[in-house]
């Protein structure tokens, strides 16, 4: 066995030796307490986020309702315009344009 091999074996043996430190039970118990505390924090956060989302939805409901009503009105007026004579002309012109554009692209 060379000097280097002997040294490597001695070094590996030194690494094998136990450290003097606190017993395993205390380490495991402390870490598990932290694990449980972390999980409790996560649970509290999840419930908190759900409650916050619910409160935000309730608080914003008047604006949400008004917004939906405005959108409905806008949709209705645009439909009425489209169904009229000017709307029909515009839609027809658009259809012709689309057909022409498709033909030009396919060449």
């Amino acid at each position: 066995m060379s000097d280097q091999d002997e040294f490597d074996a001695r070094l590996a043996a030194q690494f094998e030796q136990e450290h003097r430190h606190v017993p395993a039970d205390s380490f495991v118990a402390t870490t598990m307490r932290k694990v449980r505390a972390g999980r409790r924090r996560k649970d509290v956060m999840r419930v908190g986020l759900r409650v916050a989302a619910l409160v935000a939805a309730v608080a914003a409901s008047p604006w949400l309702i008004a917004g939906v009503a405005r959108m409905n009105a806008a949709l209705e007026s645009s439909l009425t315009w489209t169904m009229g004579q000017p709307g029909a002309w515009v839609l027809g012109a658009l259809a012709v344009l689309v057909v022409l554009a498709t033909r030009v692209r396919s060449r």
């Binding site: 070094l11 450290h19 003097r20 598990m32 694990v35 972390g38």
Partner: protein, 185 residues
């Protein structure tokens, strides 16, 4: 989550079963996994930082991170390699955060004064702390974890040549210091 096995049964259960239970959210199974591996993880951290309190703190961080990321574990058989990755990443984060440095020769000389029954251990840890952090990590992974050079390169993300050079230069430095220390004591 309550354990499906009694503590006594868990202690006798094979590793793969205990790990699978821990992955399913069983606290007692995770505690058992930790109990079986705590000496290895703590020793690894002590060798790297040379402080009992900091070593324990880092070992705790390893297990807390493992607990949080258990869902990412593909199979129980891969647990030890996966834990090793966490150990290395926690240590590298610590090095970046604290900008850990090596001890000076003066400090090393001071350590010789406190030479006692734990001399061999003091000797080794003191000698290790004189190595730069990345070299120390490679040496500890090679000698403490018994890992091959390519495995260390894959784990640390360092090129294989760098790992080989770190280990050979690190071991040479340790040999030099330990020989000096042996002569002084």
């Amino acid at each position: 989550m309550e354990s499906r096995l009694a503590v006594a049964d868990l202690q006798k259960a094979p590793d793969t079963l205990v790990i699978a239970l821990a992955c399913a959210g069983d606290d007692s199974a995770f505690a058992e996994v930790m109990r079986r591996r705590q000496v290895r993880v703590r020793k690894f951290m002590y060798h790297l930082c040379r402080q009992t309190a900091l070593g324990d703190d880092l070992a705790q961080q390893v297990f807390l991170k493992a607990w949080r990321s258990l869902g990412q574990l593909r199979s129980a058989a891969a647990f030890d390699g996966w834990l090793k990755k966490i150990m290395v990443s926690i240590w590298l984060e610590e090095v970046r955060r604290r900008k850990l440095v090596t001890v000076s020769d003066v400090e090393l000389a001071d350590l010789a004064v406190h030479h006692d029954a734990t001399a061999a251990r003091m000797d080794l840890d003191a000698a290790l702390s004189t190595l730069p952090a990345d070299m120390r990590l490679c040496v500890v992974l090679a000698y403490n974890e018994g890992m091959a050079h390519p495995e260390i390169a894959a784990l640390t993300g360092a090129p294989l040549g760098t790992v080989k050079s770190h280990i050979s230069r690190g071991a040479a430095r340790l040999r030099e210091i330990l020989a000096d220390y042996g002569e002084k004591s």
